[in-house]
Structures are given as structure tokens and as C-alpha cells.
């Protein structure tokens, strides 16, 4: 366990000043910033919006639409690929494998850093959402929103979206560990995401690892009615992630050349 903690600490430092860490901050705050800016521009309509009983649920839905469909899957594709590719880019796999840490620790710490970055992505997004809701209150005539931000199903929904994005992380990690060119996993991931957008019009999307966050968002909307019966969606996502991770690990440890 101590070896894992030290290796994780070392891995965590590698993301410092990296494009992936900038992307996590930028991607997670993008929607809340846009929402805040648009509301400030159209400030005349704000008193009515803020007087609504369902102010926070409305803001939640508005922010999650772009997050679930666009930013979360693409953020996972980019962050996973870029973090894994740091070793290829730095020609450092050989150094990593020559350190006194086991192969399983090398594999899990890098994956752990990616997962923590996804959590960071969600935390920043939620914090950004709250701030974007509170900024306009400073304007004259805008009342405090009704209800409490914390009354939203924050923990449950974030946890479920986290589970739903895991298959993307698993698939991207598998590809990024195999390819020494960052563009390959990113390109394939992007195409797979486009495929998910196309697939959600059909029930087969339930078997496509890149579609779970989109299905989750649509599940309580008319467009997603066909997925209503699939209550096990999140578990399916978790199982896909475990399977993809096991395949990644087997391929990782059986690699003939390490770095």
C-alpha cells in the first residue's frame, strides 16, 4: 500500500502544468462560465428566472446538458489519452519500468490519477455551477434563488455520471497504453463519441461504452424514453470499465518491450 501511495504521489506530480490538467479546469468551468455570462448579458430577465421555484433544478439541467453530452465524454477522452501519453512523449516508459515498483502499481497509479482528475472535473463543474448561479444575485433587483443548491441530488447524480464515464476512461486507457502517438487514441475516441451521438437514436447504444453519459442525461426526457427500461445502465457501465481495465492490464503486463 505504501508503494502505491508513493507511486501515486509521483504520478500526480507529472500532471502539473500538463495540457491535461489545464483541460480539466477549462472543460469543467466552461459551461458554468457561459451560463453566467449569458445571464449577465440578458440581465433583464433574471428576476423572473431567480423567482422560479425550481431555479436550481433548472440550472442543473441547463448545465448538465452540455456536460453529459459533450464536455464529460470528450474531457475523459482527452484527459485519459494525454495523461497516459506523457510517458511516450517524454520517452519515459523505460525509466518508469526501471523503478522499484511493481507493474500492477505502475498500471493502477496512472489509472488512479486519471480517475481522480475526472472527480476533480466533476467537483469543479459543480462548484462552477453554484458560482454561476450566485454571481447574478449581486445585480440590483435579482433576488436570492429559491431553494438550496445542496438540495439537488448532487452526490447521487455525480456518482452515477462518474460511473457512466468510466467505460470511456477504460477504453481510452487501453488504447493510449498501446499507442505511442497521442493522436491515435484521441482520434479513435472522438470517432467513438460521434458514433455514440449517432447511436442514441437506437436501443443498441446501451452496448456502446461511449454513450452512457448521454443516455443518462436523456433517460428522463422524451428522446431517451426507449432507455427507461434499462435500469441497470450504470452497472453495465461499471462492468464495461472493469472488463476494459482487465484487458488493458493483461496487454500491459504481456508487452514484450517496455519503453
Amino acid at each position: 500500500m505504501t508503494a502505491f501511495i508513493h507511486a501515486f504521489h509521483s504520478e500526480w506530480l507529472k500532471r502539473k502544468r500538463s495540457f491535461a490538467s489545464t483541460l480539466v479546469i477549462g472543460g469543467s468551468l466552461f459551461t458554468p462560465v457561459i451560463v453566467a455570462v449569458v445571464r449577465l448579458i440578458h440581465y433583464r430577465g433574471l428576476p423572473a428566472i431567480y423567482a422560479a421555484e425550481a431555479f436550481w433544478p433548472n440550472l442543473w439541467r441547463a448545465c448538465w446538458e452540455s456536460m453529459a453530452i459533450f464536455f464529460l465524454p470528450l474531457g475523459a477522452i482527452l484527459a485519459t489519452s494525454l495523461i497516459t501519453q506523457i510517458e511516450f512523449k517524454s520517452n519515459a516508459w523505460k525509466q518508469v519500468h526501471a523503478l522499484p515498483i511493481s507493474t500492477v502499481v505502475i498500471f493502477l497509479t496512472k489509472l488512479g490519477v486519471i480517475l481522480v482528475m475526472i472527480i476533480e472535473f466533476l467537483l469543479l463543474f459543480n462548484a462552477g455551477m453554484y458560482v454561476s448561479g450566485m454571481i447574478p444575485v449581486a445585480l440590483p433587483g435579482v433576488p436570492n434563488p429559491k431553494g438550496a443548491f445542496l438540495s439537488l441530488p448532487l452526490l447521487r447524480e455525480n456518482a452515477l455520471y462518474f460511473m457512466d464515464v468510466l467505460p470511456i476512461v477504460g477504453a481510452q486507457y487501453l488504447m493510449a497504453l498501446r499507442s505511442n502517438n497521442a493522436l491515435v487514441p484521441i482520434g479513435i475516441g472522438f470517432m467513438a463519441w460521434v458514433g455514440a451521438l449517432a447511436a442514441v437514436s437506437s436501443k443498441v447504444a446501451i452496448w456502446w461504452p461511449y454513450s452512457y453519459t448521454i443516455i443518462h442525461y436523456l433517460s428522463d426526457k422524451p428522446k431517451g424514453a426507449k432507455f427507461a427500461a434499462y435500469t441497470e445502465l450504470h452497472w453495465l457501465a461499471a462492468i464495461s470499465f472493469v472488463l476494459l481495465t482487465v484487458i488493458s492490464y493483461v496487454l500491459f503486463i504481456t508487452k514484450r518491450e517496455r519503453g
Binding site: H6, L13, K89, A92, K94, A98, L99, R258, G259
Partner: protein, 300 residues
């Protein structure tokens, strides 16, 4: 006692035998120069030794322990630099070392110490992407020394260094070996570099270990007289006289060149020339230098 020992190490890449039974023995406390022309299999051997390539056939022992059984325990005492430096360009020199310091669990103060050792004391806060090739090489060497390893494996460590940098790194390695008693395995295709640095040498050619022993043993076992060179008051007359005595002689660069001869034969030639009133200024034997020995070995 050997710090590193390989037995019958074979390796194939795409139906091509890269290594054909390498039995390498690196004595504890030595500086072992691993020599060979480009493509001889030096890097493949070092990669196998560090577990960067899966062993296909043969056994590797470091500090007497089997590498495949005790990889982590062994790597705790090994520092390495294989081929080009592995550096994270977006991090500073200190941060690059910090990543390894955390894993090795050595004191943080070692980062400053090794940066000073390799002459990068003022560059700790500079990002690696701003480093020249020589500075990158020094930083990678600093990483290999960070945890005071008992065995240091360096693949072409002076690549990219200027002459003064080469001398500094050579002196540093010799000092580490002398002061801390650490074993150093250093590969190079530069014979002159190994000649100045190493106590032991292994010469690899076409996947085979052609020679292994001390530098002095290498000189002794392969050294032989190639020719005799002579200088007289009248070289043309001397050549005529020597040829009349049945010895093939010729003039090259104002010197008489003769084939290898016994001591008695050289003495009798000297007496004969003096009898002909020719002054003999110099008679010397020309032997193989280390470079010739190396070239002869790898060409065989």
C-alpha cells in the same frame, strides 16, 4: 563476487539473433566498460538486464539474486540511464528528480546534492524543455545517482556532451566508484572513453561477447609486434643491405619498415649496418594499440 552476471543470454528480434549466449560478469566495485560497434547488441543487453525486455533465454543475476524473482528489491539498488534521457519537459529539473525521489524514498536534500554533482546546481528551477542535449544528459545521470545505488547502468552516458562535459562526467563516475565503491556498467562505442574510465571491459560483436576481463588483460592477450621501424643516416642504402640479407624492407614516411623480427635478428641487422658505416639513429617495435585490438576483435 559479481554485481551483475548473465548466463547464456539469448535474444531474437524478428527471426534475427541479436544476442547469442552472453555470459557477462561485472565484478563488484568495478567500472565495467561495455564496448561494441553500433548494432552489436549493447542496448539490448542492458534493456534485458533492467527488465525492459522480456528474457527469452538465459538468466540474469544482480547482487547474486535472480532478476526475474527479485526485480523490485534489485531495482532499489540500481540506477540507470538507457539511451536518450527520459525527462518530463513540462517539469523543472528538480521536479523531474522529485518524481524519482518519492519512489526511492531518499531524502529531499539528495535532489540538490545530485544537481550539484552533475553541474546543474543553478538549473534546478529551469524546465527540462529549455535544456540543451548535454544538460538533459546530466540531469538523467543525476536521476540515476539520486538514491545512491550500488550498481549504476549507463548506456552511452557521454552522448551529447562537449569535451569538458565528457571529462567532468568521467571524473564524477571515477570518483563515485572510488569513494562509494559503487559498481558502474557503462556502454560506449568509443574505445578511448572506456580506456580512460574502465577497470574492466567486455567487448560485444555480432551478438557475442568477444572479450571480457581487465583492460590490462585485453592489452596483454592481444598485444603483438606488428612491425619494426628503423631510421639510419642513409635509408636507401640500408634498405638495399637489409634486402640482400633476405628481409623485406621498404621506406615509408622516411623510415625503414621491416616485418616482425626476433631480438637476435634485430641485433645482427644493427651490427651489419654499422659495419657498412651506416649510423643507426633509431630502432623500434610497433605494437597493436587498443584501438587496433578492438577493431581486430569485432572484425573477426
Amino acid at each position: 563476487m559479481y554485481a551483475l552476471q548473465t548466463s547464456h543470454l539469448h535474444h531474437r528480434f524478428a527471426n534475427h539473433d541479436v544476442l547469442r549466449g552472453i555470459d557477462m560478469q561485472v565484478p563488484t566495485g568495478s567500472i565495467y566498460g561495455f564496448l561494441g560497434p553500433n548494432g552489436a547488441g549493447k542496448t539490448t543487453t542492458l534493456r534485458l538486464v533492467l527488465g525492459l525486455l522480456q528474457t527469452q533465454q538465459g538468466e540474469i543475476r544482480i547482487f547474486g539474486k535472480r532478476f526475474d524473482k527479485e526485480r523490485i528489491a534489485i531495482l532499489r539498488n540500481v540506477g540507470s540511464l538507457i539511451e536518450s534521457p527520459s525527462l518530463y519537459d513540462h517539469l523543472t529539473a528538480s521536479e523531474n528528480l522529485r518524481l524519482m525521489q518519492i519512489i526511492h524514498r531518499c531524502p529531499t536534500s539528495r535532489i540538490t546534492e545530485v544537481l550539484e554533482l552533475v553541474g546543474l546546481a543553478d538549473a534546478g528551477r529551469k524546465r527540462a524543455k529549455q535544456f540543451s542535449l548535454g544538460m538533459r544528459q546530466r540531469l538523467a545521470i543525476a536521476g540515476a545517482l539520486l538514491h545512491r545505488p550500488e550498481l549504476i547502468i549507463l548506456d552511452e552516458p557521454t552522448n551529447g556532451l562537449d569535451p569538458s562535459g565528457i571529462i567532468e562526467i568521467r571524473n564524477l563516475l571515477m570518483e563515485l566508484n572510488r569513494r562509494d565503491g559503487c559498481t558502474i556498467l557503462v556502454s560506449s562505442h568509443l574505445l578511448s572513453e572506456i580506456d580512460r574510465l574502465a577497470t574492466h571491459v567486455g567487448i560485444l560483436g555480432k551478438g557475442k561477447l568477444l572479450f571480457q576481463g581487465t583492460i590490462d588483460e585485453l592489452r596483454r592477450c592481444r598485444q603483438e609486434v606488428l612491425s619494426i621501424r628503423m631510421s639510419t643516416s642513409d635509408n636507401a642504402d640500408a634498405v638495399r643491405a637489409i634486402t640482400e640479407n633476405g628481409i623485406a624492407a621498404r621506406i615509408v614516411e622516411e623510415e625503414i619498415v621491416l616485418p616482425a623480427l626476433t631480438g637476435e635478428r634485430i641485433a645482427s641487422l644493427n651490427r651489419m649496418l654499422m659495419a657498412r658505416n651506416l649510423d643507426v639513429y633509431e630502432i623500434r617495435t610497433v605494437r597493436n594499440d587498443l584501438e587496433t585490438i578492438f577493431l581486430n576483435l569485432v572484425r573477426e
